[in-house]
Symmetry: D2
């Protein structure tokens, strides 16, 4: 199946490489990026891409192209979903669809009416450690989930310029964890309470955001999830989930670079979590794209639908409001 | 130093045994319990106790007795602290001092005016796993605490009759974790938000309590702690703490009965957490009593003061109010 | 049951304390030690011992005493077993019975003819970590043992004066592991090959011993065990066993003082193995003595019989000969 | 640099794929295999190989080709090294060079005289877990190695037909561990003692081999290494090394597919070792080829030289002789 990729920034390049190397069912015909230059073309050619253009229209208008990957800036996602759907393309779109819930609904509805498949890039569902915990919940051994704990901590905050336009930590960073909480709980959130502090960099506070945040989610069935985010973990990417239920507890830890340990009179020393997100999620990015290819090829529902892309945005909106107003916020106020 | 123990119930018997076997600086002269019977006397004699009585007065009035251990029911703690202080006895009192903050203040003030030492039985501070994390925070390697996570899950809920008079999960169970959060953060709490569900036993809900609870604490310096409690963990006592800071993260896990693991084609299997609380905290109970003996003997401040006994009760009150009213509650509203 | 303890040195004191505190079925009437002095008496009284004497005869001749614990120097073990057996006492004897196989046979035969119970102090069988692996083998989940690995490393070598009279590392240190290998394999050894080096302290070599040794044992059924010993592990007592079989592998690790770990950019740090052997095996010493009391009380075979005490001495003899002659040695050459 | 690959069997295909995808400094011009067919060509084209031939001569005679990878059957290795060296090609050769030490010497000498680089495919040196332990030894934190333990266990034995021509477990399987022991010890072996049993499949014994083997190596400096191999570990590929030295101990464990664990009343369950060797060593295969490319490109010594390829064959010969004759064998008898 021939595909087009819109956006050749960091995540775009990752998808170009992964699809070319590891997703045999897909062939990248065209890459579109408004800033496409020689470096972009060199990169694209290296991975067997036929054509590089500045114009996304070249992808929408191409009858040969069956599916598209939207990896452009967030503020173009909804637009490209709508155009791509109207052009009859199946769509993989990076998270989030948009920060504006109206736009999110518009994009999802357009895709549904056009009868095209839509998958949202919540890649952590495909991370081997998180997927293993999810599978344990799915096979019933945990029983009914009572408590969920999710920690996500990045090694470094983004630039202040980025922070200013990011929409805030709940939209920019915790949105992955909102999806993960839903994914693990198998239920919908009813109420959201957010707490936040500026502990890493005062400039983040001056930019109107927080760098350390904790959100409590109460699900309809009574399950309670807590998510903590920090913009700076000196030991690397820290991504851990735990589902405690009526029949047991499933949890994971971080991958370590190797299993070697050393012990002497001072104690035992081992490795630490991967420093680079791309390493951390390499296989997850491949898995999600493979899953998208299979959904398109076998005419099945995508594993992370447009609907799945909606709820985390609602939760981010509720968390943002909760932090601002200092009170719990019901999803029904937001949706 | 001769001591008297008031209360020979479950925790009272633990202290009788531990002091007799492992705290050489103390000698139990008298045990007082209103329900003292032959079994009580047999137990006491086994551990070398001189006298068993139904009357706490026999302890207060005895000039030979230098210090007392209050292990009676919660509703007698404040009274016995006051009487013991007025009688010039140094006091170790099981948690909590009382549920009524006025009574707590009264007891602490009486002890202070009398110039006697007062130690509160928050034994988890003396658990080797929690103490080790505390020490890591103290030695500066974690930097400034940003996020604290505490999980406390019991293997079985108490009887519904007990639940009805327990004061609720925040006073009865989470109070240990409130103390632990303060202990680890080295800071005071500003605001408390509680979420709760009835997921283990509907009868607990009917009794006006919850069996699954999550509390978020915001500290004055911005540190955020989350505590989760469940009344039923099928795998045993689960007690874990984590302190994430500017320079690293310290965390612990549960003790396991042994280090043996078995692997075959299905995976790897190992042991599980201790089932019985007394096993779980045996050494902690000994350590706290040893620390009390040392404080009395060397005229030093006790490691868990009356003040330390006040804040967790404030936090429990705030959490109870927060859950009831569905909003965050400032400690200043409660104190 | 009243018992007598012969030998109040290091291990003797451990047994005095453990029996007094933790083995309710036994009451120590008399302690005999040729060097008994005021300190010995003070220690004994503290643990409720009735009488301290310089004469083992006082124990053998006492009709009140039902069983004896032999914790004297190795060169007296066989003699005391023989005298004790003839006096009709049940016997717990520290390892080894003797270095001379003729004397070992003599002692075991005398005890058998006298119809008294005999238990040998191979306490590691009662260590919770080793016992757990043993239990896994016993319940069949490992299948037939194919390969066994045992590592035993001490934090410090004994004094050179002790090394000179110890009989060598195979009799003094590896003898525990010979018993453990037999215990885990559930089979008898056919052939022994020893390799050794002097790597810790040249004085040990000058004393005619080695400080680093590896022995391969071939069992009758084909199972192969390897044991390594070192007289100096800077990180503490290291005791690990592994049984690999047709259906899986069971292994253990060292206990750690606590479960706390710390991670920063340099890696993860945790605790290390216990430094002191007494800590390491405290519960094992209690367990073996409890098992002895139960065997006597219920008229059952002891869990570590005189026969069990014979084979490790044969294996030590074979290993010593193998190292000296640079060749594998069959047990049949030794027995 | 243009290279030629001789042999497109299992390991040959792995190298074709890895070099094509992950070793940008190399370009595979020609693949030679006497059984080359359409499938071979399809595979080769997929990875950008220019030409597929049945004739190794096409590679030796091609002036464009700078280096060759020998992945053909063992009995051709020496011959191809000699031909390749004479043709002035740099050579990466799969292990072992040959079973006949004379042929090994011949091949190494020819390569040296021709001034071409020679690297032997002992890929485990490049496995992240083994490399990490090696690095710990190299940085001095372990001190002088005293004891080395290596376990290598495969999930399934090879076919009996293969066993019959394999040369025996020491040449076929343990040869990797002989190299690893040398690599970790940083020393040369003086004496070898082998013990073996037939415990997995009697047919292996009938074919003149063993399926369970333990070898003790004594190094010149006194370091002692023990290696155990089993042809059947039901839990997957088990590869663990440990280096115990004067200053501490470094060890590793097996990679696990994910970090998820589940706990309930029965205990804790986790993943198990990778089942497939190719997964297990994927990155190692890439690393060794990358290292070869760097050695050729930068005119440096290869990290695993022809000499390094000699010693493990000597050790395999000594082990085979030791098992047969039931005695330790000095390398000097073999070399």
């Amino acid at each position: 199946m021939k595909i087009g990729i819109i956006g050749a920034g960091r995540i775009g390049k990752v998808h170009i490489r992964n699809i070319s190397l590891f997703v045999p069912d897909m062939e990248i015909k065209t890459v579109a990026d408004p800033f496409a230059n020689e470096a972009t073309e060199a990169y694209a050619r290296k991975f067997g891409v036929e054509r590089v253009t500045k114009e996304p229209q070249d992808i929408f208008a191409d009858p040969e192209i069956e599916a598209i990957v939207i990896a452009s800036s967030t503020n173009t996602h909804a637009q490209f979903i709508i155009e791509g759907a109207k052009a009859g393309k199946h769509i993989f779109c990076e998270k989030p669809i948009d920060y504006d819930l109206k736009r999110v609904h518009e994009a999802i509805d357009t895709a549904r009416k056009a009868g095209v498949k839509l998958q949202i890039g919540f890649c952590r569902r495909f991370d081997h450690n998180h997927r293993a915990v999810y599978d344990m919940v799915q096979d019933g051994r945990v029983g009914k989930p009572h408590l969920i704990r999710i920690s996500s901590r990045d090694p470094e905050p983004p630039s202040i310029d980025y922070v200013k336009v990011s929409g805030g930590i709940f939209y920019d960073m915790m949105i992955h964890d909102f999806d993960m909480a839903r994914f693990l709980a198998g239920d919908e959130v009813e109420e959201v309470f957010a707490q936040g502090s500026v502990l890493v960099d005062p400039a983040i506070g001056e930019a109107g955001d927080v760098d350390t945040a904790v959100v409590t989610l109460k699900f309809k069935s009574g399950t309670i999830a807590t998510i903590d985010n920090s913009r700076k973990a000196v030991y690397g990417y820290d991504q851990r989930v735990e589902v405690f239920g009526s029949e047991g507890v499933a949890m994971n830890g971080n991958d370590i670079p190797n299993t070697a340990t050393f012990a002497n009179g001072n104690g035992t020393v081992g490795g630490t979590a991967f420093q680079v997100m791309w390493d951390r999620y390499e296989q997850a990015f491949v898995n999600e794209m493979t899953a998208f290819a299979e959904a398109v090829k076998n005419d099945r529902e995508t594993p992370v639908t447009g609907e799945d892309g909606l709820y985390p945005v609602e939760m981010a909106a509720a968390a943002t409001k909760s932090l601002k107003e200092g009170r719990p916020v019901k999803i029904s106020e937001i949706a």
